[in-house]
Point group: C2
Chain length 159, copies 2
């Protein structure tokens, strides 16, 4: 896929991240693309659903599988605004996604080089192509603003 297309789809994932942020969720978004078409979108909903598994990527993988009526997302690309965590990396393997494009680095929990690089170890079932730090500034700025705002609010609440 061309870089232009990757940037276009990452912009779509960013829209999902903004939706998450607008309802008080950590602003992370994802889309799943197959044959140049978005087949599923997902925004982080951990707080709304009170479910630690409700990361944007997991919701998006479930939605894409529902759309295709197939748990095997072969040939699909997932665009996510944040470096996948361990759970999402595992879900990407389990769903047999072909490509992963992620935006901002997650220095605490990222599973593609930050906390751990799980994609370096050969998986017994499946291989994944992964490209990180695509539109990292835009993706990261959303997160930085979100956490700055939350800190300000917490500081006001303490006073």
């Amino acid at each position: 896929m061309s870089l232009e297309k990757d940037l276009f789809f990452m912009q779509e994932a960013l829209k999902e991240a903004k939706k998450a942020g607008s309802i008080g969720e950590v602003p992370v978004g994802a889309v799943v693309v197959l044959q140049d078409k978005i087949i599923a979108k997902g925004a982080n909903q951990v707080e709304l659903l009170q479910d630690a598994t409700a990361h944007a990527e997991i919701l998006c993988i479930t939605a894409a599988s529902s759309f295709l009526k197939n748990w095997r997302l072969e040939g699909a690309t997932i665009y996510t605004t944040l470096e996948p965590c361990l759970m999402c990396a595992g879900a990407i393997y389990a769903a047999r996604i072909k490509r992963v494009i992620w935006g901002a680095r997650d220095i605490r929990l990222g599973a593609n080089g930050s906390w751990i690089d799980i994609f370096q170890k050969k998986h017994p079932m499946h291989s994944v192509e992964i490209i990180g730090e695509v539109l990292q500034e835009e993706c990261g700025a959303l997160l930085t603003e979100f956490f700055q705002k939350r800190r300000r609010e917490n500081a006001r609440a303490i006073r």
Copy 2:
């Protein structure tokens, strides 16, 4: 928790695994326990839901969070009949589960020493106590029988 209690709850997870097997799913089951009470049960439903994320552990974590109305399952123990995969290991961390007790080893995909040992690496947010190979014979026999039956059926279909 006493070994007796752990064995009792693993038997409950085994019942869920049998339910999964009875509908043609790979027979894996899980329960989440808090203060000596089962707060959620889950059976693998990847084929039924056509969703690669529908492992017993993930469904069970979602159900437990829904029951508690809290994504933080602090103090909880998850019993699963199979060594967790990468995705489920990540979900266990994300949900801040305290203890993991698993049954049969997953030699291909297990993330507690078989494919990888993700629990050896210190997690930045949370620590997990993990005990494997509890009722491993019963848990493993279910899986062996399931795959033997499937191979026989496939062989018949080819003839």
